[in-house]
């Protein structure tokens, strides 16, 4: 335990542990793992993946799994002052004493926090610098489909859903305990879904002109195809029936149950929709049972029923019927986030208090919605809202993206026109004197790996800022609130999302210049990334600009089950504003069926 005076630290219960339902930590277990989340406690404890894997690992009798979260700056300073090192929450064991530290990487801007935690733990940052006795450093999570920028810092990476693969990793660690680091890493590299970047180098190719200027022309891939792991049956895989109850308010301070994984809609910008294919549902009985067990054992008064697109759940009505009586008797709220606009379930709406409704419309015109394959019409939007306003709703949030492929100012103007139409609709349909609270939010489109738009250009600063200015001025006229995402952080996100192994040096420079907590606007500074790229002589436009479809992409060695050809075909359709129906309506031959990873059956029939 390090001797930090917690009374001088912001939110000291971040560092104390002792949460209700913490499993018994077996300090004599053969394999000691520390699950590291590269963000603060409140963010990490809200993460469902961490909740699941933490309990899964502790359920194995030969494994002990503890947690560690990125400390806030004041705690890190206190560690430096005392020359102390970062320790686990449960037992206060220094991270460097574990057999493995496993980072769950949820979003690109937390990459520097991985370095931050390694350094605070006094673990050498680079795999090449680690010696016998240093823990094995693993990274996984949603970003694992392209973790090339972190490759130099990870002994190995696991790609995909963790329930099964992490168990195999723990078993491998048990079998190889006591062996050399090289042997352990080599054994882990053999596991399906895993790979050790140091054992699979990549080459970078340049052309030099007559003046000696070097231009990057491409790279080779690791000599291994890594198959992304997916759980086969959501009703049979490990799922905890309890959750730790934090003593501090966290972001998602409620019980969470997944009702299904995957998404059939095929929105062309959405990475999650593609990497979590195929759709795998849980039965409503199992969801209801899990929900009740979670609520009873935690004392939470709210439960969130999660999925990527809740209204697609084929047993939604049954599930509501199971849960509603229990919820009423026990004063529990259940929420259904991610409802799609074309099926506003008025009867499931919050009966007690009309809180805000949120809809992700994403694009202003039907043409652009067809380009991105968001199959929703303006009529859907307005008829859903008519129903909602008549029921008493007076607060609406709309999400859009700016910078989508083929977007013009006409599409942006249509966002304002739609907002105006909703405003007028409310005045006609409202059932109370309350004024409409309409909030329009626009993020910047980021082209992500494993989507049909993975080759698209990231929109320029001038273009995005012009669109943001237009919307701000136009919407303000009707008293409509407008929030927009910071362009700078979107640049960094694009850079890292489509990044390759050369960015390892860039990340280390950014971190050494004070780049931590980059997901927090008070800390992020694009300038650090720009400077680091300059020092490394890397042109940022290589990552921001349109990608050549004939070129190797850094993530091409990962197999998520969907073919590259499918993404190319979808891209062609996008440019013609042609839509693709969802998997419930027809199989579009994305590749999963031919690999036996999808039943091809319409779910629910």
């Amino acid at each position: 335990m390090n001797k930090i005076d917690l009374t001088k630290i912001t939110k000291p219960s971040r560092y104390v542990g002792g949460e209700y339902n913490t499993p018994k930590i077996k300090k004599d277990a053969k394999v000691q793992i520390c699950f590291c989340f590269p963000d603060v406690y409140e963010v990490g404890m809200s993460n469902l993946g961490m909740r699941i894997l933490y309990y899964m690992l502790n359920s194995l009798d030969f494994v002990s799994c503890e947690r560690c979260f990125a400390p806030w700056e004041d705690y890190a300073e206190a560690l430096h002052e005392k020359d102390a090192e970062l320790c686990s929450l449960e037992s206060g064991t220094p991270l460097k004493n574990f057999d493995m530290v496993a980072f769950s990487v949820q979003y690109e801007l937390c990459y520097t926090n991985v370095l931050y935690m390694l350094e605070l733990a006094k673990i050498p940052l680079r795999t090449a610098e680690r010696k016998q006795g240093d823990p094995i450093v693993l990274a996984g999570g949603p970003c694992s489909v392209n973790l090339e920028p972190l490759a130099d810092f990870c002994d190995f990476i696991d790609i995909g859903e963790g329930e099964d693969v992490l168990k195999r990793i723990a078993e491998c660690l048990a079998v190889t305990k006591g062996k050399s680091r090289a042997d352990i890493v080599a054994a882990l590299d053999q596991l399906e879904g895993c790979y050790a970047p140091s054992l699979h180098p990549v080459g970078f190719f340049y052309e030099t002109d007559s003046e000696g200027n070097r231009t990057f022309v491409g790279q080779s891939l690791p000599d291994k195809v890594v198959k992304q792991q997916k759980v086969a049956d959501m009703n049979a895989c490990f799922c905890p029936e309890t959750a730790q109850v934090p003593n501090l308010e966290i972001i998602h301070d409620r019980a969470v149950v997944e009702i299904f994984r995957g998404c059939a809609n095929g929105c062309r910008f959405c990475q999650a929709g593609f990497i979590y294919r195929p759709v795998r549902e849980r039965t409503p009985e199992y969801v209801a049972e899990l929900s009740k067990k979670l609520l009873d054992s935690t004392g939470y008064d709210e439960i969130s029923l999660n999925s990527l697109s809740t209204s697609d759940y084929s047993h939604l009505r049954e599930l509501i019927d199971y849960l509603t009586p229990y919820a009423e008797v026990n004063h529990v709220n259940y929420s259904l986030p991610s409802l799609r606009m074309d099926s506003f379930l008025g009867e499931y709406a919050d009966k007690k208090r009309k809180s805000s409704l949120t809809f992700a419309v994403e694009a202003g015109t039907q043409r652009l919605r067809n380009v991105i394959n968001k199959n929703i019409t303006e009529e859907n939007v307005l008829s859903c809202l008519t129903q909602a306003f008549q029921m008493g709703y007076s607060s609406v949030k709309l999400y859009f993206m700016l910078g989508l492929p083929t977007e013009t100012m006409d599409d942006v103007k249509a966002i304002a026109e739609l907002a105006y139409k909703i405003h007028a609709l409310y005045n006609r349909e409202k059932c109370s004197k309350k004024p409409l609270k309409l909030n329009v939010s626009a993020s910047v489109f980021i082209p992500k790996p494993f989507t049909p738009f993975q080759w698209e250009a990231f929109d320029s600063r001038e273009s995005v800022e012009e669109k943001q200015r237009y919307l701000k001025e136009t919407l303000r006229k009707k008293g409509i609130a407008f929030n927009y995402h910071d362009y700078d952080s979107s640049v960094a996100e694009t850079l890292l999302a489509r990044g390759d192994r050369r960015l390892g040096n860039v990340l280390e420079r950014v971190y050494k210049q004070g780049g931590i907590m980059d997901g927090w606007c008070e800390y992020f500074a694009l300038g650090r990334y720009i400077d680091a790229l300059k020092c490394e002589k890397i042109d940022i436009n290589e990552f921001l600009g349109a990608q050549d479809v004939n070129k190797v992409l850094p993530w091409d060695y990962v197999d998520i089950g969907v073919n590259r050809e499918y993404f190319l075909a979808e891209r062609e359709k996008a440019y013609k504003a042609e839509t693709t129906p969802n998997c419930y309506k027809q199989c579009n031959n994305c590749g999963l069926l031919e690999r036996g990873m999808c039943s091809g059956k319409v779910v629910g029939t």
């Binding site: 005076d5 917690l6 009374t7 001088k8 000291p12 219960s13 104390v16 542990g17 002792g18 949460e19 209700y20 109850v245 003593n247 501090l248 308010e249 301070d253 009740k292 009873d296 054992s297 935690t298 004392g299 939470y300 008064d301 026990n330 004063h331 007690k352 208090r353």
Partner: protein, 270 residues
């Protein structure tokens, strides 16, 4: 009304008051004790707390009152555990019994909740002492550092804010017994502290009732607590600074609460 006395020690002493309110909501839910909810669009549990404890300060005398549904005196609903099937009936005649929970109660409660000893509920003598069963249930589902030590059933809301005026604290730190404390209660006494980035110099003499050295590593003080309040950590840091001593690492434990006449707050008083 269920009135409870509880201890709040490390690690729960690191939980702020607002988070403690949330924590208590969840402990009560897990225990299965029936509680009244407020009316309106956003119902919340009817729980009342004694004055908020500063972050980092421990206590052995915190108090809390839980309102029960008014038409049922103190019925505890069945636990969700499948083996604990019967409803525990609470006798309304046992209204002012103070029961001190021991560690054994917590273990027994744990076995009751987890179904190993269901017979403890279904005894032939029928009814378990209501306050005792409440304590058992709460201690079976509590968190590290929170321990319920006494329970009373009362007719009315004890209204802590109206009764609590002072609290006594023990301050333990190596060498703290050498602090010059005589002048604190003998006229004006100023301490300095920073609030919202500004340095404040304040006379605390009317907020300190009593200060005494217990031994070389421990002093005791009775400070204003409640509507007029002197934070214990602010007090000791200020006094230590006046004496040129570093207060880092001081352990502060609140011992008792007192009314305006400096009578110790007991359930009879509330």
């Amino acid at each position: 009304m269920i009135v409870l006395k509880y201890e709040k020690t490390y690690p729960s002493s690191m939980v702020s008051h607002i988070d403690t309110v949330r924590l208590m909501n969840r402990i009560i839910r897990r225990s299965g004790i029936d509680i009244a909810y407020s009316a309106g669009f956003n119902p919340h549990m009817e729980i009342f707390f004694s004055p908020a404890l500063s972050l980092g300060v421990e206590s052995v005398c915190e108090m809390m009152a839980i309102k029960q549904p008014s038409d049922i005196e103190a019925q505890t609903k069945p636990l969700s555990n499948a083996t604990a099937k019967s409803t525990i009936e609470i006798s309304s005649a046992e209204s002012q019994i103070e029961v001190n929970a021991s560690k054994d109660c917590a273990e027994e409660a744990h076995s009751i909740l987890h179904g190993h000893n269901a017979d403890a509920i279904n005894t032939n003598t029928g009814i378990i002492n209501d306050a005792q069963s409440i304590l058992q249930r709460l201690n079976a589902v509590t968190v590290d550092g929170i321990r319920f030590t006494a329970c009373w059933i009362k007719e009315k809301n004890p209204n802590f804010a109206a009764h609590v005026y002072y609290a006594s604290y023990l301050f333990c730190l190596e060498g703290i017994g050498s602090l010059k404390i005589d002048d604190i209660t003998k006229g004006e006494y100023f301490i300095e502290y920073i609030e919202k980035g500004t340095l404040i110099k304040k006379d605390i003499s009317d907020l300190v009732k009593f200060v005494e050295v217990r031994d070389k590593d421990c002093i005791e003080a009775t400070l204003a607590c409640g509507n007029k309040n002197l934070k214990a950590d602010r007090f000791i840091c200020g006094v230590c600074a006046n004496n040129g001593i570093n207060a880092e690492g001081v352990k502060i434990v609140k011992q008792k609460m007192f009314d305006e006449q400096l009578n110790e707050i007991t359930v009879a008083l509330l």
